[in-house]
């Protein structure tokens, strides 16, 4: 049976995604911190305890 996909396309797609992730990471404070920049503000625990919803939205009662 003929394959449902082309191997090179799958590899190319995954490589593009990996490149995008790497480009984002290399420009991030976390990478800068790991490279010795102690002033870089990383956010390993990204959470806002005062938020009203998982996306970080404020509560209706606190809005004007």
């Amino acid at each position: 049976m003929q394959a449902a996909y082309k191997r090179y396309r799958v590899i190319a797609f995954l490589l593009v995604v990996l490149m995008l992730v790497l480009a984002d990471h290399l420009a991030s404070p976390t990478f800068a911190f790991n490279m010795g920049d102690g002033r870089a503000q990383t956010a390993l625990n990204q959470r806002d305890a005062s938020a009203c919803a998982p996306c970080g939205a404020p509560c209706p009662s606190t809005r004007k």
Partner: protein, 412 residues
């Protein structure tokens, strides 16, 4: 290679009768590529960020495998109830919510510091968002998790849905502050209202009522209720082969998804979510081409701002989504079905449905504070009242979406 492994991986050893044993053959290329991807991403997370994120990445992989092998589709489950009057998929979801509530409400009620539930306000934004999401589910062909795991399994049409899901989510994030200014009330947590035992009792009562309604619909149409969701043993192959190649009985998927969400809460401090990452990826793409996202209120709030300024490898939702994609890809490779659904490229109206569905999914998910996972599954497991409102409104939207499907030449 052991006999068991050979039977799973598709041995090429000649049989005594001269034929090759190719009754079943996994797609080693895809399965291997997915494993290599897991090693690369897992290794990057390990080297660059923190061990707890590696654990969450692994949880994401397992959840992706469970969603694929369990064929745990929220969208199809709802549609089967409406069009075929069959409720097994819907009951499987209700059982998942009941089990998760039993595990996660006590965890959240224990008052562990740094642990928050998926609670959200109830108002116009939630009602409109979940309603639009319900329509989008049926046009797009999947919900948040469904879109992600089918993309991982190589479905081209769902890749279109995902791309427009991201677009819709970003637009939704820009509009969300306006929607939040419309009438709404602060989150209502059943744990705060009734305590842990009371919250579980209310949840179970609500889920039991929905299940009775589902059973009634099925019994009226068919005279009996099929109990496929309670089956524990594999139907065709042995346990070991079914575990690695599917299709899993619903019970297996329910157990893995419930434990996976509880682990996400225990390790990451918040229940499982999916769609925030779509927001983030879209916003990062815009930022990369020069758009200043800080001009939009959503991206000035603490959590979105933190996520936007740092690596996606530090964002829990993104890391888990990467795991889910690769887990589903591995599972599809093991089942020898990678890209199987995409032999015919989406064209014309089905393509348009994927575009519109994706936009509605994204916009709706942002206004409704998440998708079937973040708002419904995690919301119910957190004892949040908003999840019930989300459930009802998304179901009504789904009814409309089902009616619209034939217009886009999508089968019901």
């Amino acid at each position: 290679m052991s006999e068991v492994a050979a039977s799973i991986l598709g041995s090429t050893r000649p049989r005594s009768d001269g034929f090759r044993d190719d009754e079943f053959r996994s797609d080693r290329f895809i399965a291997g590529l997915a494993l290599a991807g897991m090693l690369v991403v897992g290794g990057l997370v390990w080297l660059e960020t923190a061990p707890f994120l590696v654990a969450l990445f692994a949880v994401g992989v397992v959840l992706g495998v469970a969603l694929y092998h369990g064929a745990f589709g929220f969208t199809a489950g709802w549609r089967n109830l409406v069009t075929k009057r069959r409720g097994a998929g819907m009951r499987a979801q209700l059982l998942l919510f009941a089990l998760s509530s039993l595990i996660m409400i006590p965890l959240l009620g224990s008052g562990q510091p740094g642990m928050v539930g998926a609670v959200a306000p109830i108002g116009v934004s939630l009602v409109v968002g979940s309603f639009l999401f319900g329509i989008g589910m049926q046009l797009g062909g999947g919900c948040g998790s469904g879109t992600l795991f089918t993309v991982g399994a190589g479905n081209i049409r769902m890749l279109v849905t995902l791309l427009f899901f991201i677009v819709g989510a970003v637009v939704g994030s820009i509009h969300l502050p306006w929607w939040l200014d419309l009438p709404a009330v602060d989150p209502i947590s059943l744990i705060d209202v009734a305590g842990v035992p009371g919250a579980i009792a209310i949840q179970w009562l609500g889920l039991a009522l929905v299940m009775l309604w589902v059973n009634r619909v099925e019994r009226r149409a068919h005279g009996e209720v099929q109990r496929g969701e309670l089956q524990c043993s594999p139907t065709e192959n042995g346990w070991w082969r079914t575990l690695l190649t599917g299709r899993w009985p619903f019970v297996w998927a329910i157990l893995v998804l419930a434990v996976g969400n509880a682990l996400t809460l225990a390790i990451g401090g918040a229940p499982w979510g999916i769609t925030f990452a779509f927001n983030l990826w879209g916003a990062k793409a815009l930022q990369a081409v020069g758009v200043d996202m800080s001009q939009f209120e959503f991206w000035t709030w603490d959590y979105p701002a933190m996520a936007l300024s740092d690596s996606v490898l530090v964002n829990i939702t993104s890391v888990m989504n990467f795991g889910l994609l690769l887990g589903a890809m591995w599972a599809a490779g093991m089942a020898n079905r990678f890209n199987e659904a995409s032999r015919q490229r989406p064209q014309g109206r089905p393509f348009l449905a994927a575009v519109i569905g994706g936009l509605l999914l994204g916009y709706g998910a942002r206004l409704g504070f998440g998708c079937n996972i973040g708002a419904l599954f995690s919301g119910l497991a957190s004892g949040s009242l908003h999840a019930w409102v989300w459930f009802a409104c998304a179901f009504v939207g789904s009814l409309i979406g089902i009616r619209l499907r034939p217009m886009f030449r999508l089968a019901n």
